[in-house]
């Protein structure tokens, strides 16, 4: 494998929500195969800046797959071709020399475009605000070992709690449904003994909010599960539907 490759980027450019967007093409040479796609975009942006061209806007922060900031369509796929991998964890060695890489923002009615590849995912917070929590308050907690929880239960709850709120499941779904995101939160809380009581109530509130935010209905295409970087299973959607 070559140490350095050349890439042709075709990137969605849009100044703001109100303005119209279009694709723009850039050739980037001498891209190390050992850097990440976001680092290649940094490299491209440095070139653009020197030419007084507005750099490409994209969201990111931790760059280690945990904060959920990054994410756009890479050749049509949310987070790109690699399974269980966020955009920031995708490395250039996964692309061939002279490859064409098409980058577009998440496309969903509930995620308005801010600029280029950056979208507003505030609607996901609104779903949690509607009821994705326990009603406990600081200083009133009982002893943590009072209610035993089996390691399997704790782990299963943990697995659903690893959702990073990236929105890929919405972007990958042809109905732009947020069912996987909501199911993950309901399953995280609902599997724990502390959460059994409020299960129905939480589900009702969060699902009502899905409609308010304009997310679509789930029609069991399972695209969400396929693109989820945390591999959250779509079985939790069926679990949610039975609450």
């Amino acid at each position: 494998m070559k140490d350095f490759i050349s890439i042709k980027f075709k990137v969605w450019r849009q100044d703001s929500y109100e303005s119209r967007g279009s694709y723009e093409e850039f050739i980037l040479e001498r891209v190390s195969v050992n850097i990440s796609l976001l680092e290649a975009l940094d490299q491209l942006n440095e070139k653009l800046i020197i030419q007084n061209i507005r750099p490409i806007t994209f969201d990111h922060d931790c760059r280690e797959g945990i904060c959920g900031s990054c994410g756009f369509l890479i050749n049509g796929q949310p987070h790109g071709p690699k399974k269980a991998t966020t955009t920031c964890q995708l490395y250039m060695r996964n692309f061939k020399d002279n490859a064409l890489i098409i980058l577009e923002p998440w496309r969903a009615q509930s995620f308005p475009i801010i600029q280029d590849l950056s979208v507003d995912r505030n609607a996901l917070d609104k779903l949690i605000i509607a009821g994705g929590y326990f009603p406990t308050e600081t200083g009133k907690a009982p002893d943590a070992n009072l209610i035993p929880i089996s390691p399997e239960k704790a782990f299963s709850s943990f697995e659903t709690a690893t959702c990073i709120g990236c929105g890929a499941c919405v972007a990958g779904c042809k109905n732009a449904s947020s069912s996987l995101f909501v199911a993950a939160k309901l399953a995280h809380l609902g599997q724990l003994p502390q959460g059994i009581n409020g299960k129905k109530d939480r589900s009702r509130k969060m699902r009502k909010q899905m409609n308010i935010e304009g997310f679509g209905q789930c029609s069991n295409n399972l695209e969400c599960e396929a693109v989820c970087p945390k591999e959250i299973s779509a079985d939790w959607i069926s679990w949610m539907n039975k609450i």
Partner: protein, 641 residues
């Protein structure tokens, strides 16, 4: 010692000091609390937990962050776990509390206040209760009780964890409590805003100036008091394990408005991170330290070796930690491991890009325990490594190198977590409190949550109860002045029109800082670094290029504003490192070491917190000190030989 530095410590015994303090704090009747507006900057563990708790009590909160959602805060990336002193048998509680207290003080190499470390240890157990009640899915034992593990060289098992994602799970707990208060109307979430200045009236904090990151507008926010929970500043080094946007701007602006800065040079460098792979490297990823339990660290005996590690025979390998520390071997403390790796790489034995890397080899452990055991133990980590480096660490030795990870230094706060500016509270990694010269593994998350859930809500309430009067006219004037000064700063940067992007300057700053004010330091290099930073500063101010944009969204401007503050802060870090003529904790001054090359502390002259005041009249700094007294635990030195 300067008598204006009063830490407000409880009198008498270290034990029970916090309980005594609480008794003397003033409360406010619940129904009047909603008359007070509190601004909290930062939604990491410390900011989110404080916001949720203060809102539950009835205060009106504005939570400000540059993220689009509080769930993204840097705290989300903490991996290993959170310490807590709890024992199933009540009689043993005091023993485990004492142990955590002792390890915190000794870990910090006697450069933190005993009383604060004691409080941290006493509160720790209630943090776990709190988190579990929120639904944090900690790992469990077969009997259903909470599981713990040993972490960061501790002899006792007291670290609670949720796989390798403890920070994420704790943050989501606080985030959910926070959003519940948003629903109840007690918290206003103000996202996508950079706080760029503080509004201070008669030495009391009354508001902040923000820049809206989407439309570029400058805004003022007024309040009865301000809380900064803005995290650490490891990104002064450009490459660090921190999230890319973590920055020092809020605390640095506060400092320039009069808040004192404590021990700015105390930074922790983590020995096991994935080294840079090329010149566009943007961050360094932490690999859990636990790998040192099963990995042997080595380098080729041949200088500048380009051979594949699998082909280097045993007798041509130098297991340098095992050689230098026969007793502890690969498990020497973080700072020792980092220093030794740096030294030997600088002699030309390092491997990988730029010769900045050492091997961590799992082979012997795999041969002994079997691949299955190692995979079960480190599964996630090994996958992450393979994704980033493109090599299977069970077949090819891993490459690792130390990277800046955590800043113990921060704004000076008293026992009540208030800075020397009235009503300016500082929480979490942004303050200087319990970690001294070196932080104990898994104590950062604990400190953040102690600060946010249990300490600051009480001390803030009491301060508000005693400081009700606001001079609105003066506040308005101060807001105007601060807004104008931010506006001016931005215009100056946009006017430069040079030819180099922000990152060019940031990378250069990082190189200066890591080579001269990083893992080990000496006066000559530090003085030279000061000159280099000065040159860089001039270069930045004349050659920076921020491209023109049609909308207010301007990422390059955001970065330039942060870098400007990092450059100023780096100078203070260097000065602080020069003045501290001793080696302690993570601060290793080459001039002060024993014959065996171990750190030599100087308790006669430096058993204090260095407190730096900014003098705006002549743009200079004055160093004061707060003496530290050790009543419960005797000063002693560590020995790892």
């Amino acid at each position: 010692m300067n008598n204006c530095i009063n830490p407000n410590l409880p009198s008498g015994d270290v034990e029970g000091g916090w309980q005594k303090t609480i008794k003397n704090l003033t409360n406010i009747p619940s129904e009047s609390k909603n008359k007070f507006q509190i601004i909290i900057v930062g939604c990491g563990l410390s900011g989110s937990s404080a916001a949720a708790t203060l809102a539950e009590e009835g205060f009106k909160i504005k939570l400000i962050t540059y993220h689009d959602s509080p769930r993204r805060a840097h705290s989300v990336s903490a991996q290993g776990g959170i310490n807590a002193a709890r024992s199933p048998e009540e009689e043993r509680n005091k023993v485990v509390i004492d142990q955590l207290f002792k390890d915190t003080v000794i870990g910090g190499d006697f450069r933190a206040r005993e009383a604060s470390c004691q409080r941290l240890s006493e509160i720790s157990s209630s943090i776990i209760n709190q988190c579990v009640s929120q639904g944090v899915p900690f790992a469990r034992e077969y009997d259903g009780t909470l599981a713990t593990r040993r972490f960061g060289g501790a002899v006792v098992s007291r670290t609670f964890y949720a796989r390798g994602q403890t920070g994420q799970q704790l943050l989501y707990g606080a985030y959910q409590a926070l959003l519940r208060q948003v629903k109840l109307g007690n918290i206003e979430l103000i996202t996508k805003r950079d706080v760029l200045d503080l509004v201070i009236v008669n030495n009391v904090a009354r508001g902040v100036i923000t820049r809206n990151l989407v439309n570029g507008n400058l805004e003022t926010h007024k309040a009865n008091c301000v809380v900064l929970a803005t995290g650490g500043y490891s990104n002064v080094y450009y490459l660090s394990t921190n999230s890319l946007k973590s920055n020092a701007t809020a605390i640095w602006r506060a400092h320039k408005r009069g808040a004192n800065f404590a021990n700015p040079s105390f930074t922790q460098i983590h020995p096991t991170c994935i080294p840079p792979a090329g010149s566009y490297q943007s961050k360094l990823t932490l690999m859990s330290e636990s790998l040192r339990n099963d990995g042997r660290i080595w380098l080729p005996k041949k200088i500048n070796s380009q051979d594949d590690p699998e082909n280097i025979p045993e007798h041509e390998r130098d297991y340098f930690l095992e050689r230098q520390y026969p007793k502890y071997g690969n498990l020497v403390p973080r700072d020792v491991a980092s220093r030794r790796a740096k030294e030997i790489c600088e002699k030309g034995f390092g491997i990988g890009f730029g010769g900045k890397g050492v091997y961590l080899d799992l082979k012997d452990s795999i041969n002994k325990n079997g691949l299955k055991v190692i995979k079960a133990k480190y599964g996630n980590l090994l996958e992450m490594y393979e994704r980033i480096v493109g090599e299977d660490p069970t077949k090819v030795p891993m490459k690792i190198y130390p990277a800046p990870h955590y800043t113990m230094g921060g704004l000076w706060v008293d026992y009540n977590l208030m800075s020397n500016i009235g009503g300016l509270f500082v929480l979490g990694e942004a303050n200087y409190s319990v970690h001294g010269a070196n932080r104990l593994g898994a104590n950062a998350l604990l400190q953040c949550l102690c600060d946010g859930y249990f300490i600051s809500p009480k001390t803030i309430t009491s301060w508000l109860a005693n400081n009700k009067e606001i001079d609105n006219k003066k506040v308005d004037e101060a807001c105007k002045e601060a807004l104008n000064s931010v506006d001016k700063k931005i215009k100056v940067l946009l006017k430069i029109k040079g030819d180099k992007p922000v990152d060019y300057f940031h990378r250069t700053l990082g190189e200066i800082m890591i080579s001269k004010c990083g893992i080990s330091r000496n006066r000559k290099d530090l003085e030279f670094a000061l000159e280099e930073v000065e040159k860089l500063n001039k270069n930045f101010k004349s050659n920076l290029k921020i491209p023109e944009t049609n909308s207010g969204l301007n990422v390059e401007l955001e970065k330039a504003l942060r870098l400007e503050d990092f450059i100023e802060l780096s100078k203070l870090m260097i000065k602080d490192a020069i003045e501290r003529e001793e080696s302690c904790g993570a601060h290793f001054r080459e001039e002060y070491q024993t014959e065996e090359g171990e750190a030599k502390r100087n308790d006669d002259f430096f058993s204090h917190i260095a407190v730096w005041e900014f003098n705006s009249d002549n743009n200079s700094h004055i160093r004061y000190s707060e003496e530290l007294n050790f009543k419960k635990i005797g000063l002693n030195t560590r020995n790892y030989k």
